[in-house]
């Protein structure tokens, strides 16, 4: 038990990301961002060995980096629509029902800040589970209403009808402060856990809409000794994770 209490902020984030792929079976884990990438590799090295990973280009690779399959963009899009994939995307904005924006800030006609464009967020969210990673939890990201719905939230999917809800699922949102999900009757965002050292009040203060709160908000689980060893010695020995989420 002694070592596990020394887990850093970034390591709790890695664990929380890894757990998104728990019990997913033989699907493609598509992490976007550094900490989700460490999390996906940790999941594959421990409790989800059947996960598929890519080299970030066109190859499916094992943990040793050796190719085991071919996945160019055109086939990747079939993987998406076939549903055997769980992506963890970033989000410039995210609202109470899980609508996500990576397209632009402000009026779409002439945006104040043009970002990436919708990319594959519409196809992802309607076809395979989509989780989100937000390295800096703030009111700028967690807004009442996103400016451009790129990733579809629960309310928007419901309004669009059965073809939209059929395969729609947002398992979790991981941030530097905690883990959020939509396990509420009306599918509004809920605080599922806070990372040790963080309070529910701090998360609410950094969120631009009221969060559903359990009576007692649990802490994000502790990493096991094996997980800490894998993160520190094998997957991220240079400690790049601390650059995305600095130590407290």
């Amino acid at each position: 038990m002694s070592r596990t209490t020394t887990a850093t902020h970034a390591e709790y984030c890695v664990i929380a990301c890894a757990d998104a792929w728990r019990d997913n079976g033989e699907v493609l884990a598509s992490p976007m961002g550094l900490i989700p990438s460490i999390g996906a590799r940790l999941a594959k090295r421990t409790f989800s060995p059947d996960l598929l990973l890519t080299d970030g280009e066109a190859m499916l690779v094992g943990l040793d980096g050796v190719a085991e399959g071919w996945l160019p963009y055109r086939r990747h899009l079939t993987m998406v629509t076939g549903g055997r994939r769980h992506v963890m995307m970033g989000a410039s904005q995210l609202d109470r029902f899980g609508n996500q924006n990576i397209s632009c800030i402000g009026d779409w006609q002439q945006p104040a800040r043009q970002l990436l464009g919708v990319r594959g967020a519409p196809v992802n969210t309607l076809n395979n589970p989509v989780s989100y990673w937000v390295p800096k939890h703030s009111r700028r990201v967690f807004v009442e209403k996103v400016d451009m719905i790129s990733g579809v939230g629960y309310d928007s999917a419901a309004a669009a009808g059965p073809s939209a809800t059929r395969y729609h699922r947002i398992p979790r949102v991981v941030t530097n402060l905690g883990v959020l999900d939509f396990a509420t009757p009306d599918r509004a965002m809920r605080l599922a856990s806070v990372h040790p050292g963080v309070t529910a009040g701090e998360v609410q203060a950094a969120t631009g809409f009221p969060l559903a709160l359990p009576d007692e908000v649990p802490y994000t689980r502790e990493p096991t000794a094996t997980e800490l060893r894998l993160i520190r010695a094998v997957i991220d020995p240079d400690g790049l994770r601390d650059r995305e989420v600095p130590p407290a």
Binding site: Y73, A112, R113, R119, P122, L126, A160, A164
Partner: protein, 279 residues
């Protein structure tokens, strides 16, 4: 059979203002940059550009050549946000048809198959439908009765693509890990122009699956060594990250003056000179 080889200038002489122009590659990967640079030297403008956007979009946007863009994104990959695309959008410089990556692919498939649309699940519930009020849905005639988005065919007047090798007849070969969608661009366009790193006499020793583009869908072939620069064209070369950074951080008039005021040969030697200055 017809020898389809031509110069970049001859390609551009066949294009005209107001055209719908498809550009192959993806982001900052295997873009037909030499052909885009030739386009910048011409007075062709008012274009509808269809692209998985990268610096091709950025260059044309900075030069004010785009009337309308059809895209899911524009990115430099290693630099996530394309600066000239951003600036153009923020000054409202062109019309945008912003669709999802998969919708875009099915739009190409529809055009290549001469279909008016193809149904996709993507787009429902997202603001892609809000910002494209012309997009329609279609209901399945089968018992599922599902309602899906009818992605219209992205038919193009002309397409520009860049591959690793080609023959004089217009057969094209890719040697990297990903074909992107260049075959579809050629098949979805009335005319298609293929630039390549190197012309070859035949593909006698080629792995068959690398022969991506067939000559029936190609109008002209251009030998353009380093013709995807500064995007990647693996395995011939990777992305020129240092130069891309220069592109992304230099004010447009200064960049255009130094690198785009002469022909392709002048461009390539100006790039080389710049690299020599850096060491």
């Amino acid at each position: 059979m017809a020898d389809k080889t031509m110069t970049p200038e001859e390609v551009v002489s066949r294009l005209h203002s107001g055209m719908t122009l498809g550009i192959g590659g993806w982001g900052s990967r295997r873009k037909p940059m030499a052909l885009v640079r030739a386009l910048l030297r011409s007075d062709v403008t008012d274009l509808t550009v269809v692209s998985y956007g990268g610096p091709d979009v950025g260059l044309l946007a900075a030069a004010g050549r785009i009337r309308k863009l059809v895209a899911a994104f524009a990115t430099l990959d290693s630099i996530p946000l394309e600066p000239h695309f951003r600036a153009a959008r923020q000054r409202g410089a062109f019309e945008l048809m912003e669709i999802d990556e998969a919708m875009f692919m099915w739009g190409l498939h529809a055009a290549a198959n001469r279909l008016p649309f193809l149904p996709v699940r993507a787009g429902l519930g997202s603001d892609v439908l809000r910002v494209n009020p012309g997009l329609r849905t279609v209901t399945s005639p089968y018992e599922d009765g599902e309602t899906l988005v009818a992605v219209p065919a992205l038919r193009m007047d002309a397409a520009l693509v860049h591959l690793n090798r080609a023959d004089r007849l217009g057969n094209g070969q890719y040697l990297g890990p990903d074909p992107y969608f260049d075959d579809l661009f050629c098949e979805a366009a009335d005319q298609a122009y293929l630039s390549c790193e190197r012309l070859v006499d035949d593909f006698a020793t080629a792995v068959p699956q690398t022969l991506l583009v067939n000559r029936h869908s190609v109008t002209g072939v251009v030998e353009a060594p380093h013709g995807a620069h500064f995007t990647s064209c693996v395995p011939d070369y990777g992305r020129d990250e240092a130069f891309q950074k220069l592109y992304a951080t230099t004010p447009w008039p200064e960049f255009a003056e130094r690198f785009l005021s002469g022909d392709e040969k002048t461009y390539q030697s100006a790039v080389q000179t710049w690299h020599e200055e850096q060491t």
